[in-house]
C-alpha cells in the first residue's frame, strides 16, 4: 500500500472570512462599555436636554469624576502588575485628614502640607509593596490590614473634623478654574491620567509593569526586578490615593474621618468596568476613565431626573452587570461566529 499524498493545500493564504455580523460583535465586545456610556449620554440628553446637555453640567460631571478617576488610576497600576490594593480609600481618608492637620495644627504652608501628604501616601504605598513582595503577605490581607490600621491612627490624630485654621487658598485649589475656565480638579485629573497613561504605555517601567502582570516568571527571567516594579505600582496607588484625599479635603474645606472610604468600591467598579473596554480583561488607564465616566454620568443623570433614591443603587448595579455582560456575550458569540 502506498502513501497517498495530497498536494500542499494552501499556498496563498485564504482571504479571511470576515462577516459583517462578526465584525459587529467584535466591535460590541470591545466598545460595549463605551457604547453604553454614549447611550446613557444620549438618553439623558434627549430626555433632559436643557439641563443635562449643558457645558456647566458636563464640567460638573467631569469635576465629580476627577477624584474617582485619579484614585482608580492608581488602583489600575496595582492591578496591571497582578496585585490588589484595598487600602486606597483609607489612605485617601487618612491623608486628607493629615493634610488639613498639618495646616491647622502645625501651621505648615499649603505647598509643604501637600508635599508631605503626597509623600505620606506614597510611603504607605511603598509599605504595602514591601509587605506584598518582600514579606510575601497576600495583597488582600496586607492592604486591608494597613488600611484598617490607618483608620485607627486617623482617629487618634483627630476624632473631630479639622475645619478651622485651614487657609482659604487651600479650598481654592479645588474650587478655582485656572486653565480655560475648567475646574482645577479636572485639569489635575487630565494631567495625572496623561502622566499615568504615558508611563504605562510609553516608558520602560510601564512595559515592565505590563510584563510583570502578564507573566511574572517570564518577566523575572527577562531580567526585570519584579519586586521593585510591584513596589512602584503600590507607591503610585498610594500617591494617587493621597492626591484624591488632598483634593477631597480641599473640596470639603475640612479634614473629616472616613471621608474618602467610599472611593474604594467605586474605584473597583470603575476599574473592572474599564477592563471590559477595548482589550479583554486587561487593566488600563483609558478603560478606567471610561468606567469612572459611566458611574459619574449615571449618578448625575439620575439625580437630574429625580429618580427615586432606591433607584440609584439598582441602576448602578444594573449598569455594571449590563455593560460588562454585553461585552462578554458579544465576545463569546464573536469567538464562535
Amino acid at each position: 500500500m502506498t502513501a497517498e499524498t495530497v498536494p500542499a493545500a494552501k499556498e496563498a493564504p485564504q482571504p479571511r472570512k470576515s462577516s459583517w455580523k462578526r465584525t459587529a460583535l467584535i466591535g460590541l465586545s470591545r466598545y460595549g462599555t463605551i457604547i453604553g456610556l454614549l447611550l446613557m449620554v444620549l438618553f439623558f440628553s434627549i430626555n433632559a436636554p436643557g439641563v443635562f446637555l449643558s457645558r456647566a453640567n458636563f464640567l460638573n460631571i467631569l469635576s465629580q469624576a476627577s477624584l474617582t478617576a485619579i484614585i482608580a488610576s492608581g488602583l489600575t497600576y496595582t492591578l496591571v502588575v497582578g496585585e490588589f490594593d484595598l487600602s486606597i480609600g483609607y489612605v485617601a481618608s487618612f491623608v486628607g485628614l493629615i493634610v488639613t492637620g498639618l495646616m491647622a495644627y502645625e501651621g505648615f504652608p499649603i505647598w509643604l502640607s501637600i508635599v508631605c501628604a503626597l509623600a505620606l501616601g506614597s510611603g504607605i504605598g511603598v509599605l504595602n509593596g514591601l509587605l506584598v513582595t518582600k514579606v510575601r503577605i497576600n495583597a488582600v490581607i496586607s492592604t486591608l490590614g494597613i488600611g484598617t490600621m490607618l483608620t485607627g491612627i486617623g482617629f487618634t490624630y483627630s476624632a473631630f473634623p479639622i475645619a478651622t485654621g485651614i487657609p482659604r487658598a487651600f479650598t481654592g485649589i479645588s474650587l478655582g478654574r485656572i486653565v480655560f475656565g475648567l475646574p482645577n480638579p479636572v485639569i489635575i485629573m487630565v494631567v495625572m491620567l496623561l502622566a499615568l497613561w504615558t508611563v504605562l504605555n510609553k516608558t520602560d517601567i510601564g512595559q515592565k509593569m505590563q510584563a510583570v502582570g502578564s507573566n511574572m516568571e517570564a518577566a523575572r527571567l527577562s531580567g526585570i526586578r519584579v519586586d521593585r516594579i510591584k513596589i512602584f505600582a503600590f507607591a503610585t496607588a498610594g500617591f494617587c490615593a493621597a492626591l484624591t484625599g488632598t483634593l477631597l479635603s480641599s473640596l470639603l474645606g475640612s479634614g473629616t474621618l472616613a471621608a474618602a472610604d467610599g472611593y474604594l468600591l467605586d474605584a473597583f467598579a470603575a476599574v473592572f468596568l474599564g477592563s471590559a473596554t477595548l482589550r479583554e480583561g486587561e487593566f488600563h488607564i483609558t478603560g478606567t476613565l471610561v468606567g469612572v465616566l459611566i458611574l459619574a454620568v449615571g449618578f448625575n443623570g439620575l439625580s437630574i431626573f429625580g429618580a427615586p433614591t432606591h433607584f440609584q443603587p439598582i441602576f448602578k448595579g444594573g449598569i455594571l452587570v449590563l455593560a460588562v455582560g454585553m461585552s462578554a456575550l458579544a465576545r463569546r458569540y464573536a469567538a464562535s461566529a
Binding site: 500500500m1 500542499a8 479571511r16 504615558t198 518577566a219
Partner: protein, 516 residues
C-alpha cells in the same frame, strides 16, 4: 478526499470534522477512521490541527460541523461526559494536573467511585489507580503531591490517569515530549500491550522516529486538512517530513562539528558548582563559537544547573566565570546585566507573555535601546517596531505582524521569539533549556540554524535537551549529566545516540527507568 484505507464499518468514524477559531480554520473537514487494537499516528506541523481534533473528540472543543460515530452510535459533541461514557480517554498536550492534589487524587479526578451520600471511597477507587501506576512504572508513593513531582513524573501520572479509565480508545497528544528514552520505551511497551488487548490508540508526536516505529497507520494533517495516510512501512522518515511540511529538509548527516579551541580563554566556565541534592560538583568550560549541549535523563539536574547560572538560585559551592572574570549573580536581573540569558524549559509559564504582542515579547529585555532620547525613559514606537521587525525577519518568525498577539503563533515561532529576545541584549551566554520541545520538525531545523548562527557569531551557547536526536544534530560537544554530576564528555564523531544513552545510564545499571 478519496476513499481511504479504512473499511466502511470502522469502529470509530470521524466525518467532516470542522472547527474555526476567530474565523480561521483549525480543522477542515477531517475524515478519519479508527480501529480498535491498532495504533494510529497523527502527525503534522505546529498548528496543523492535531490537538484540535483530539479536543473535539474529548468534548472540550465543540466542532462547527462534522460527526463522530462509535460502533454505530453517534457521539454527542461538546460534552466531556459523553466522551467519557463512550469509553474515550485522553492525555492532552498540556500537563493538566491539580498541583496540590496527590498523584492518586489526580488519577481519580472526574471519576472517583463514591459511596452513599457522595462520599469518596478512596479504598475502592485506589485499587484501579494502583494497578495503572504499576503498569506505567510509577515508583513513587501515590500520595505524593503533584507539586513535588518532576515534570517527567507528572507525565507518568497523566498516563496512569488515562489508564485507570478502562477505555476503549486512548488519545495521547505528545506524551513523550517531556520524557526521556527509558520512560518513553516503557510507554511504548504499554501502548503495544493496550493495542494487543483491543484498545484503540491515537498517538500524536513530533518525534517522527517513534511514530514510524510505533504506529500501525500514520495520518498527516496540514493546515487543518488530512493530506496523507499511510500504513506501517509505507513511509520512511524523509517521506513523512515531506508530507508534513510540504518539502524536504536538509539532513545534516555529515556535518562538521566545531572543535573547541581550548588554548583560548573560555567564554564561560563553571567551577565545582553544587546546590542541594540536585547539582553536585559540576565544572565545565564553554568556548567561543561552539554549541555545548547538556544531555542526560530527565531529572539529571540540568535545569537546576541552568537556574544557578541564570541567577534564579545561588550555588552553595563553587563559582562561575564569564570572560575570565568571576561572577556572582544574586538574581536574574544581575545575570542579564552580566550577559547571561536563559530561554526556559516551560515556554508557556516561564517564557512568553501570552496576552502581549510579538514585538512586546521580543523587546522586553532591550527596552533601554529603544528609548527616543538616551537617558530619558520614553520609548520610541518606531524603534521598537523596527527592532522587532528586523529580528522577526532575521529569525524567520512566521507572524502576520509584530503587533499580533504572541498567543496566536505556533509553538515553534513562539520559541524563536524568545530567542530573538536576547539577540540585541548584549548576551554573552545563552542557555536554551529544551529549545525544541513540542516544536515540529521544520521549525526545529530553523531553530537549530538560528542557534548555530548565534554560536558562530560569538555568543556562548549552552543547550539542554532530553531529545537525543537533537543533541546529535545540534551539538559541537556534549556533556552528559546524571544525578547532578557530569558523567562524560563527547566530541566530534563520538556524539552518537548510543554513546549519549550509555553515558546517561553511567554507573546506574540497577535502577533503570528511574523517574526522578
Amino acid at each position: 478526499m478519496s476513499a481511504t484505507v479504512s473499511a466502511a464499518d470502522a469502529w470509530m468514524r470521524i466525518r467532516g470534522l470542522t472547527k474555526s477559531f476567530a474565523g480561521e480554520r483549525a480543522l477542515d473537514r477531517a475524515d478519519l477512521d479508527i480501529e480498535r487494537g491498532r495504533v494510529h499516528g497523527l502527525v503534522g506541523a505546529n498548528g496543523a490541527g492535531k490537538s484540535t481534533l483530539i479536543r473535539c473528540l474529548a468534548g472540550v472543543t465543540t466542532p462547527d460541523q462534522g460527526s463522530v460515530t462509535i460502533a454505530g452510535n453517534e457521539l454527542q459533541m461538546g460534552s466531556p461526559q459523553a466522551s467519557e461514557r463512550a469509553g474515550l480517554a485522553f492525555i492532552h498536550q498540556e500537563l493538566n494536573l491539580i498541583p496540590h492534589f496527590s498523584a492518586l487524587q489526580n488519577m481519580l479526578l472526574g471519576a472517583p467511585k463514591t459511596t452513599r451520600f457522595g462520599m469518596i471511597d478512596w479504598k475502592r477507587s485506589g485499587v484501579a489507580a494502583r494497578a495503572a501506576a504499576e503498569r506505567v512504572g510509577i515508583r513513587f508513593p501515590l500520595d505524593t503531591k503533584v507539586s513535588e513531582l518532576s515534570v517527567a513524573q507528572r507525565w507518568l501520572v497523566m498516563i496512569g490517569k488515562a489508564l485507570t479509565r478502562d477505555a476503549s480508545m486512548i488519545a495521547m497528544d505528545e506524551p513523550t515530549a517531556s520524557l526521556s528514552e527509558p520512560e518513553s520505551e516503557q510507554l511504548f511497551a504499554i501502548i503495544r500491550d493496550l493495542a494487543a488487548q483491543g484498545v484503540a490508540i491515537l498517538y500524536v508526536s513530533h518525534r517522527l522516529e517513534e511514530v514510524l516505529q510505533l504506529c500501525d497507520r500514520i495520518t498527516v494533517l496540514r493546515d487543518g486538512r488530512i493530506v496523507s495516510q499511510a500504513e506501517r512501512g509505507a513511509l520512511d522518515k524523509k517521506g513523512l517530513v515531506r508530507a508534513i511540511i510540504g518539502h524536504a529538509i536538509r539532513t545534516p548527516d555529515a556535518r562538521d562539528r566545531l572543535a573547541a579551541d581550548r588554548s583560548r580563554q573560555p567564554v564561560f566556565s563553571a567551577r565545582s558548582i553544587a546546590w542541594k541534592q540536585a547539582v553536585k560538583d559540576v565544572s565545565l568550560d564553554l568556548y567561543k563559537g561552539e554549541v555545548l549541549a547538556l544531555g542526560g535523563l530527565v531529572g539529571a539536574g540540568r535545569t537546576e544547573f541552568a537556574h544557578l547560572v541564570a541567577g534564579l538560585a545561588r550555588p552553595e559551592a563553587g563559582h562561575l566565570e564569564l570572560d575570565g572574570k568571576r561572577l556572582d549573580v544574586a538574581n536574574p536581573s544581575e545575570a542579564v546585566k552580566a550577559g547571561i540569558a536563559l530561554v526556559p524549559e516551560e515556554r508557556r509559564s516561564q517564557g512568553v507573555m501570552l496576552q502581549q504582542s510579538v514585538a512586546f515579547n521580543i523587546n522586553i529585555s532591550t527596552l533601554k535601546l529603544l528609548r527616543s532620547v538616551p537617558g530619558l525613559p520614553f520609548l520610541s514606537d518606531a524603534k521598537s517596531r523596527r527592532q522587532a521587525e528586523s529580528l522577526v525577519a532575521h529569525l524567520g518568525i512566521k507572524t502576520p505582524g509584530v503587533t499580533t498577539k504572541i498567543a496566536g503563533l505556533s509553538g515553534g515561532n513562539q520559541q524563536k521569539a524568545l530567542i530573538a529576545r536576547w539577540l540585541n541584549a548584549g548576551t554573552k551566554l545563552l542557555i536554551l533549556d529544551e529549545p525544541s520541545r513540542g516544536v515540529d520538525v521544520g521549525a526545529r531545523e530553523e531553530i537549530h540554524d538560528a542557534i548555530r548562527a548565534l554560536a558562530r557569531s560569538g555568543v556562548g551557547i549552552l543547550v539542554i535537551s532530553s531529545d537525543v536526536e537533537e543533541l546529535t544534530l545540534l551539538a559541537d560537544r556534549v556533556l552528559v549529566m546524571r544525578e547532578g554530576r557530569v558523567t562524560g564528555e563527547l566530541t566530534g564523531a563520538d556524539i552518537t545516540e548510543a554513546r549519549i544513552i550509555e553515558l546517561s545510564y553511567h554507573d546506574a545499571h540497577d535502577d533503570q527507568g528511574e523517574a526522578a
